[in-house]
Subunit: 218 residues, 2 copies
């Protein structure tokens, strides 16, 4: 194994580390909502700078490797993909922070209704993130394609939840403020799933060396 | 001027072309809402694949230049920044499409109230995009920093509009569905401003060769 191989492996590990931190942040943010644990929500918010620091580190390391090793073909695609993936991971971390902020607000008011769709949406989104990181590491396009397909499930659940909450709001004006916050959390989860889908498309591009974004995958 | 200089200039032109298309899309989407012109909204949606095609083209050209010319330092940073900027531009284009979809829905119902805050938010967001593209081309960090500062204005207008619409919804349940769609449009504009801010941070990074993302700029 050459030094460059080791450097590439290290870069891969950094991306996985960042992905793991974002996965925990999403899991904890939803837990803080469902279990009404605002202390946990505050911890998610406090930890976000660590995710951001890794984003910077991965960017710097990628630039360094391109300049120093002058990689071509597959290796170059791998490094530029890593740089792009971290942008999505960083924003997923921000969305976990947004969920935590809404959770803290919602925890201060009486529960509107039991959370059923939100944990389900979170579960699918988290699964998509876990699998897409796996697809990236193993350079496995079939897993990546599978992630892209699951995006629709999250979109459908968002529409379903939105309609249900609309009913609550029309019935009871006092529910409006809380219901809107819950629709926001659904939107955040939808965007987390979108980011996982973006990463999946990049992984396919990286592996196949061709661009599927904006074509079949749409 | 070397061939490589010309290639870099061509890459810059492609990014500007893509930025110009996104600017038109945002402008037209808001116009379609304010003037209740659903035909225009449909045109914005139809044109989005052109933006996506440019995203692919810029990515391919960037990879080709890195592999072929093996740029270092400033040039390398410029090319990787171009690749990252297009991801943000592409998503801004998607958000203009989202605005157009909500506009078509809202145009089918009676107006809730005159749109005042939305055009104001759109104006600021568009100004941020225009200036950040200028900052990228001229490698001007002071313009980029100025864009970053303006993000707060958009955030404040979103909160203000949200509170106003909440009042509408509580007063009149029939307003709920329309009011929520308007808050969504405000959120889309907020995200467009966020993307402009992301690009501004990347431009500063490109020029100064250091990473301000997630530090002073936050």
């Amino acid at each position: 194994m050459t030094i460059f191989d080791e450097e590439l492996m290290h870069l891969k590990e950094l991306v996985l580390k960042m992905g793991g931190m974002v996965q925990s942040a999403i899991k904890d943010s939803i837990h803080s909502l469902v279990e009404r644990d605002s202390e946990l929500a505050r911890k998610v918010i406090e930890k976000d700078p660590l995710v951001n620091a890794l984003d910077v580190q991965i960017d710097e390391e990628s630039i360094r490797l391109i300049a120093l090793r002058q990689p071509t073909a597959g290796d170059l695609r791998f490094i530029t993909t890593a740089m792009k993936i971290t942008t999505d991971l960083e924003r997923m971390g921000d969305l976990a922070e947004d969920i935590s902020e809404r959770a803290i607000e919602l925890n201060e008011e009486p529960p509107l209704k039991p959370y059923i769709d939100i944990p389900r949406m979170a579960e699918i989104s988290q699964g998509m993130l876990r699998d897409v990181l796996d697809a990236f590491v193993k350079e496995d396009t079939s897993v990546a394609y599978d992630v892209i397909k699951r995006d629709d499930e999250v979109d459908n659940l968002t529409v379903q939840l939105f309609n249900e909450l609309l009913f609550f709001m029309i019935q009871d004006p006092r529910a409006v403020s809380r219901a809107i916050k819950i629709t926001y959390i659904a939107k955040y989860l939808e965007r987390i799933a979108d980011h996982a889908t973006n990463i999946a498309e990049m992984v396919v591009y990286m592996v196949q060396g061709k661009m599927i974004r904006h074509t079949e995958a749409q």
